[in-house]
Amino acid sequence: MVAALHALSAWAIPMFIVLIPLVAAFRKVPVYETFVDGAKDGFQTAIGIIPHLVGMMTAISMFRSSGAMDVLIGAVAPFFAWLGIPAEVLPLGLLRPITGAGSLAFATDLIKTHGPDSLIGRIASVVQGSTDTTLYVVTVYFGAVGIRNARYALKVGLFSDAVGFFAAVFACWLLF
């Protein structure tokens, strides 16, 4: 399975890039015009994130340089070392379900500080890439239809976030 997952990492993007336009062309879609049309949205999306990311990166960068981050991480490090998880990723796991921009900023900070190909950088990438912001999803989806009693939805979401966090660490241990 490890080999299959590595092959997937290597081949997923090239396969998407070749197969999607090929199938589309076969179905008589004007591939280039469609590509350009959709690509415009990518620009909007990237620019739209700037205020969120600047706000969060500023706070996280200050938090790290003041030394508060080291104290926080130092407090939980022994327990995490016992679990075999780098303590640096704990704040990311806690932020992930609460704020998408905040956790993206935190993951970026970890990748920048420890390097993208370090174990911490990879765990940060996988944790950030693998779950959605539960509180945001609950608010947006239930807010849209006026649900006030979410019943067990939040519990299920947070439970799967916790599982996802440990699964991400496990997947990195397994593959790297």
Binding site: T34, A46, M56, F63, P116, V145
Partner: protein, 222 residues
């Protein structure tokens, strides 16, 4: 909550910096953090533009719809209390296929449409139905094939293999989605055993507005 976290981080940084005599560094970090935020977003442009162009092709050519058809049996199993030909199922399928391809922006409107359709089947509009909870669980855990943004961030910071997180991300999301489905089923079963939320008849009358097929919940076998 986000407000408090943000404020807390900033306030703690200044207090902590003052206590340890690092106010100067904290100030510099504020500006360098803001700069990193902008730099990273600019780095995202290349990949997001490319990927969303590609995904538009997938959408227009019907590949997303084809993917939906493949998932139809799974969705019927996950949503046993939604009638087979109800429009909600169609939106749920589009939502799931968009999530699978990492099309967050396309997934959300589809998910909201699905919620609106599910709300029409809801006897008590202020309380979530089990189907709504399942849809939510699938969206928070969503299986991801290509974590586009993170690949872009890694590329930005000079990763030798930015895409090598695809395999572990798929594995991790498969596990968390599995956990979400199991937890969702467990709660469904528990709530059926002790049905506490039977709506009062008054709200049923008010919540059954138009030509919704009579709210027949098919017998569910798990």
């Amino acid at each position: 909550m986000v407000n408090w976290i943000w404020l807390g981080m900033i306030a703690l940084s200044v207090i902590f910096g003052a206590a340890t005599g690092r106010v100067q560094q904290v100030t510099e970090a504020a500006f360098s953090g803001a700069q990193t935020g902008v730099t990273v977003c600019f780095g995202l442009i290349s990949i997001l533009v490319f990927w969303m162009g590609l995904m538009k092709i997938a959408e227009v050519s019907g590949i997303v719809r084809r993917l939906s058809l493949l998932m139809a049996p799974i969705v019927r199993w996950l949503f046993p209390d939604v009638p087979k030909d109800h429009p909600a199922l169609g939106y749920i399928l589009s939502n799931m296929s968009a999530n699978l391809l990492g099309l967050g922006n396309a997934a959300t409107p589809m998910g909201i449409r699905a919620m609106q359709e599910l709300q029409k089947l809801n006897a008590n509009p202020a309380v979530a139905t089990p189907a709504m909870c399942t849809l939510l669980a699938l969206n928070t855990a969503s299986i991801t094939i290509i974590p586009t943004t993170l690949i872009a961030v890694r590329m930005n910071f000079g990763s030798a293999h930015p895409a090598d997180i695809i395999g572990p991300t798929l594995l991790a999301t498969a596990i968390s989605t599995g956990a979400a489905i199991v937890a969702d089923r467990w709660y469904r079963r528990r709530e059926r055993r002790v049905p506490p939320l039977t709506p009062p008849p008054a709200s049923t009358a008010q919540a059954a507005p138009d030509k919704i097929p009579p709210h027949t919940v098919p017998p569910v076998s798990l």
